[in-house]
Each structure stands twice: as C-alpha cells, then as structure tokens.
C-alpha cells in the first residue's frame, strides 16, 4: 500500500477514535441546535411567573391604557389608594411593581415613579415609557383636534426591493441581510476550522518530534510524505467532523421539532403565517427572507465552502507543520505563530469593510490573495460575484498551497531532526536555502 496512504490512515483513525473528537462531535450539534431551538422555545413557552404591576393613576389621563402583555407575563392592575398606603403594604401584596402616576401637567409630565423590589428590565421600562408617551400624545392630539385616522394617513411605509441581475438576465431577488448573515457564518467557520485543525497538525508534529519517533518514521518514509500524510489525515478528520455536525444538527433540530410542533412551525415553515394575514409587515419580511434564501445558491455555497476550507486548510496546515517542526514544545511556537496567523486575522478584521462593498477593490484583492481568500470568499459568495473571479481565486489558492507546502517541506525536513537549539528566523532562513 502507498506509504502516504498508510500515514493518512493512521492520522485519521487515531484522531477519530479520540474521546475529545467524539465529545466535540456530539456537543457541537447540541450547541448549534441549542442556538436555533432555545430562543424559539423560550419565546414560545408560557412563562409561569406572571408579574403583576399595580397602577395608581392620580392624573386620570391614563385610565385603561396599560394593556396586559399578550403572553400573559405582565398584568396591570388599577388600584385606587393613596401612594403611601400602597407602598406600606407593598411587600405583602406579592406584586412585582408599583407604577405611580401623579396628577401631571400634560406639557411637562414629571414625577412618574416605578417602585419595585428589584431593578426592572429595560424592556419593561421602555414599554411603560412608550405607553405613557403615546397616551399623552393622544390626549394632546385630541385637544388640538387632530384625529388618529388623519395622523395615520400622513405616515408612509417605504421598502426597497433588491434584485440581482444574473448573467443570463435572470432576475433574482436578493436580500443583503440574509447574504451577509450567511457570509459571516461561512467566513467564521472557515477561520475557526483552519485554526482548530492547523493547531492539530502542529501539535501532531511536536508530539512526533518530542517523543522521538520521527527518526524511526523518516527512516521508512521521506519527511515530505510524512508531512503531507499528516496534513491530509487531519483534513479528513476536519471534513468528517464538519459533515457529522451538519448531519447531526439537522437531525436534532428535526427531532426537537417533532417533540414541540410549535417549534417546527416557527422555525422551519413560514407557510402557516402566510395564511394568517395579508397585510402584516412582519410577515412580508419573513417572506422576503425565505425568498432571499432561495436566491442564495445553496449547493454552490456548500461546495465552495468545502473547497475553500480544504484549500485554505491545506495551505495553512503545511505552514503549521513547519512551525511545529521548528519547535521543541508548544511554548516555542509562539514567535512563529504570529506571521502565520496574521493574514487570517486580517481577513476576519476586514470582513465588515468587505460587507459594505462586497464587489469593491478591497474585496477583490483580498479574495484573490490565497492567504486571505478562503475567509473573504465565503463572505462574497452569498452576494454573487463574476464566475471568472471565483475560478481565478480557486486557481490561485491551489497554487498558493503548492507553494506553501514546498516552503514548509524545506523547513520541516531539517526542523524535525533539530533538537535543543533555539530556532529563530535566521536559522529558518538558512534551512530554506540549504
């Protein structure tokens, strides 16, 4: 059997059977599913602790204007007492809060006070403030003879549809928010994966070096074969983990959906909502989001993700292997890690700028340079870009990883046999030209 094949197999199997891999594989999807499911679950679940807020309205302006919260979390109770009495037996009343509205001057409302045992949430205060403001405005409008209907007719709602003109002249409805969310997720995943698995390659090299097995291995295979085998072996582990995560996340979301039918309808299908009402602006937004998702070419996105993940990882993986070979222990790697990881960090930092102008000059160059293209391209693809740019970037990335592998191999073959000497940039320079 081919020796690189043997090395890949060993790297793959020893890692896949590790406890940490199994734990990460199970925890990852739980985490992802949690991010999707928990907020919906929290939002949909009926909170049992109902908060009762007593309202003392001495102004008489706000009778019945505080509406109970739709979910039944907050209930307003109008009471007619003096504020001092209410405060005195507040602790026995089991109420959450006490809202005191004195007789106020409508042009300068002062002295509205909220009493509670603990600090109320900002959201609650905003609600109360909003209600007060609206009611006072209504009273003022009434006094100025402006009707509600008249005011409504003055307000105009404007929304802008964005349409991407495809090359075939096909119109696609685009949505910048969805595209940027998808782009961010893809870019960050690539960034994290490259670091995570790059570090694994580095630690693997250090382990072989410090346990001294490397000399036995390279009396059987060439250092280049060992390095490439390790890099590819770890890449397969990363790919396995990614695919397992995707699969398990879908599974968990679906299973959770079948247990809580509410969830499934809210999370996955906007259809029932469409039947509810036609004029709901929130609903329009939902519909445009789902159609925007249609506009994102999912198969292209996933295949590009896999390509850029592998390409970017192979490029950095070889460099991480070289860093590992030049060090005797994890702590020795610090000085070399900075130049290796700087381009990755820069590409993450510039994401916001690229988001502003996904087809601008910065975005173009960053997505062509192989060191930054894996992360930056994931940001650009959801917005759509000319095919020639995508192909050029891919070709450059392949060229890039062949180049870094060649450089890394030169450092690696000497580094793995160098013990005990402090390696600095000067020595590495010598190795490169030896």
């Amino acid at each position: 059997m081919n020796k690189i094949g043997l090395i890949i197999k060993r790297e793959y199997w020893t890692r896949v059977r590790k406890k940490s891999f199994i734990i990460m594989t199970i925890l990852g999807p739980l985490l992802f599913a949690g991010i999707v499911v928990v907020p919906i679950w929290l939002a949909s679940s009926e909170s049992s602790d109902e908060k009762v807020i007593a309202v003392i309205d001495e102004s008489g302006l706000l009778t019945n204007s505080f509406q109970n919260d739709e979910d039944g979390n907050i209930r307003y109770e109008y009471i007619v007492r003096s504020i001092d009495d209410a405060k005195a037996d507040f602790s026995e009343s089991n109420r959450y809060g006490l809202l005191y509205i004195p007789a106020i001057d409508i042009n300068d409302p002062q002295g509205v006070t909220f009493f509670a045992e603990s600090n109320p949430s900002l959201q609650l205060l905003n609600n109360i403030r909003g209600t007060l403001r609206q009611n006072i405005r209504d009273v003022k409008m009434e006094r100025s003879n402006i009707s509600r209907a008249m005011l409504d007719s003055l307000e105009t709602r404007v929304s802008i549809n964005t349409i991407n003109l495809g090359q075939a002249g096909k119109e696609q409805q685009g949505n910048a928010e969805v595209a940027s969310a998808v782009g961010y997720v893809g870019a960050f995943l690539i960034y994290i994966f490259i670091f995570l698995y790059g570090a694994q390659v580095m630690r693997g090299v250090i382990e072989e070096k410090s346990s001294r097995i490397v000399e036995v291995i390279i009396s059987s295979v060439r250092p280049f074969q060992l390095m490439v085998g390790k890099v590819i072996g770890v890449a397969s582990v990363g790919l396995t983990q990614f695919l397992l995560w995707v699969g398990l996340t879908l599974l968990i979301v679906n299973v959770a959906g079948s247990f809580f039918p509410d969830l499934a309808s809210q999370a996955a299908t906007p259809v029932p909502m469409a039947q509810m009402s036609e004029s709901n602006p929130q609903l329009e937004a939902m519909q445009s989001i789902s159609s925007a998702f249609d506009s994102v070419n999912i198969p292209l996105l996933i295949s590009c993700f896999i390509f850029y993940f592998l390409g970017g990882y192979l490029m950095y993986g070889a460099l991480f292997a070289a860093v590992g070979s030049a060090a005797d222990s994890d702590t020795d790697t610090q000085q070399f890690m900075l130049p290796v990881s700087a381009p990755l960090i820069i590409s993450i930092v510039t994401l916001a700028a690229i988001l502003n102008e996904p087809n601008g000059t910065l975005a173009f160059w960053m997505s062509m340079i192989p060191f930054t293209s894996p992360v930056v391209m994931m940001m650009r693809i959801p917005f759509g870009l000319p095919t020639w740019q995508l192909i050029l970037s891919m070709v450059l990335l392949v060229g890039g990883f062949i180049f870094t592998t060649w450089i890394a191999a030169k450092i690696y073959r000497i580094g793995i046999l160098t013990y005990g000497t402090k390696v600095n940039y000067k020595t590495i320079g010598k190795w490169l030209f030896q």
């Binding site: 059997m1 020796k3 043997l6 090395i7 060993r10 020893t14 382990e207 072989e208 346990s211 001294r212 097995i213 490397v214 000399e215 036995v216 291995i217 390279i218 009396s219 059987s220 295979v221 060439r222 046999l417 013990y419 010598k430 030896q434």
Partner: protein
C-alpha cells in the same frame, strides 16, 4: 563479500563539518562496531545510510547497488533517541511501522506474533505504549527494528534501559540474527559489549575515520610487546632493555609485574631471563582492550 560500502562520504552543516572523507566497508554477516566520542559524526553517518539525510559528497553502496529509496526495506534502524507513539496500542503501532517498511498487514501480524513469543511478551498487543515501563518499550522498539527482516540492522546503544536479564535476551537475539546471515552495525559507548559482540570495528574521531578493520587485527596493531608475570620473589638485575612498567602486590606474597620488551625479543627469551630470578606462576601477553585502544586513538 561486503554488504555495505561507504565511499568518501563528506557532510557539512552550516557551522561545522560532520564527516570528512569517511570510507568504511562492512562485511556481510559481521557485527560492526561503530565507535567514536560524542559528536564525532557517528549519528550523521547512520542517518546518511538510512537516507534520512544526504551526503554532500561520496556514495553508499549496499549489496553492490547505489543506495536508493527501495533499500529502505533492507535496513532496520534503532535510533539512540527512542520513541513510539505513546497513545497507540502496541500491536497497532508495530503493524503500522512494519507496513511503512513494506510488509503486508497479514504478514506483519504473523511476524509480530512470532516476536512476541520470542521476547516473552505475548498478550501485550492491546496495551498502550504509555502504560509500559521503559525496558518494555525498548523491547517493542527492538521488534519494530527487525520485524521486516532487514539484511542490515543498525542498533544505536541497544542495551540502554534494559535490566541485565533482558539485556542478555536482546544480546542473544542479536547473535541469532547474525547467525541467520544478517549484518549488524552496532554503535555504542559500552566497550565491554563491543569486546564481546563485535567482529569488526571502525573508530571515528572529529569527523574523520581513525581506524577500521577486524577487531582482532586492530588489537594486534596495538600490541606493545608487554607481558604480565605473576611471580614469587623480587625481580633484580633484569636486562636493562626490558622495562618494568608496573608492579603490584597480589595476595599471599605474589607480585604482578608488567614488563615491556623490545620488538626483536621473543616471549620465551623473557621467560628464560626471569626464571633464574623468580618463581613464575603465570605468564601472559597483555593484549590491549578496546577501551584502551579507543582512548589511545582518540588522544
């Protein structure tokens, strides 16, 4: 018949010259002691033979061919700095290393089982390396070195880490391998095992080969016509050409005297000269030990 020939090997590193025009021939079925002080260049030479690094000049010939990647399967190497994958199981690890040397999986398993019996470690297959003692790890590493039945076995300090019982076990295996026709390069600082095992030696000092050849020939080269005599009574009035080098008291009035005589004089003449003076109880030529040769050659 030579198994391996190193011809005019030179290797330079950035700051120093590791090997300077070193030529060595290693006969088939020999146990070849590669000796030299620390940093003399032994490991460099061994690494060149293993194709871990390349020589700047000169070439290695093995079995009458120029050394090339296919010869990896003909060489087994036990480096001085031992190491195995700590988290891997013994069996798996040996199979992996054997496969890297070109064995098929099934063949590797069969031979590893054989070796487990020979070294009395059956049932270790499922243990992790990190759970084994140092001596046990050494045994595993020894198996990894010889499992693919290479014609040339290179052992760098093979006995470190072994207790006397296991060291003997390994020594017997080395001799058995030699009987089977294998050639062994043996690098060590333990001169007593060189004395015991080696048929040939080469000495490298400061990147250069100082001497090489059959162990017995080298010992003969270093003979100095010196004899040890065990006797009763004092030696007085000996021929002034004969030098008394050393004299020490041995129990119950015996004396041991070391005498060096001119090259032209035979040991019989020395005996004849001694007999009138003292009662001779033992008489033998003092042959230099490898240790003495080593020190003499290096200084």
């Amino acid at each position: 018949m030579y198994l391996l020939e190193a011809q005019h090997i030179s290797k330079r590193y950035a700051n120093h010259e590791a090997l300077k025009d070193v030529s060595i021939t290693i006969p088939k079925q020999s146990i070849f002691g590669l000796l030299g002080p620390n940093g003399a260049g032994k490991t460099t030479l061994i690494r060149i033979i293993n194709q871990i690094i390349e020589a700047d000049e000169g070439q290695i010939r093995i079995k009458d061919e120029v050394l090339q990647p296919k010869h990896i399967a003909d060489i087994g190497y036990l480096p001085e700095e031992r190491g195995l994958y700590k988290k891997m199981k013994v069996g798996e690890q040996l199979i992996y290393l054997a496969q890297l040397k070109g064995l098929s999986r099934s063949e590797a398993i069969r031979r590893i089982k054989d070796w487990f019996q020979r070294l009395e470690i059956s049932g270790w297959s499922e243990k992790k390396i990190e759970d084994l003692s140092k001596g046990m790890q050494q045994k595993i590493q020894f198996i990894a070195t010889v499992v693919h039945e290479p014609d040339l076995i290179i052992l760098d300090e093979p006995f470190t880490g072994f207790d006397p019982v296991n060291a003997n076990l390994i020594k017997d295996e080395i001799l058995k391998l030699q009987e089977q026709g294998k050639t062994i390069i043996f690098s060590t600082h333990r001169m007593e095992s060189v004395e015991e095992l080696c048929t040939h030696i080469a000495l490298i000092n400061k990147s250069e080969k100082v001497l090489d050849g059959k162990k017995q020939d080298i010992k003969n080269q270093f003979r100095s016509n010196t004899y040890e005599v065990l006797h009763l009574g004092n030696i007085n009035g000996l021929n002034p050409d004969y030098q008394l080098i050393q004299q020490e008291d041995i129990e119950s009035d015996y004396l041991k005297t070391t005498v060096q005589i001119p090259e032209t004089v035979s040991p019989n003449e020395l005996l004849r000269e001694l007999i009138p003076h003292v009662e001779v109880h033992a008489f033998q030529e003092k042959i230099p030990t490898i240790n003495e040769i080593f020190i003499a050659a290096v200084q």
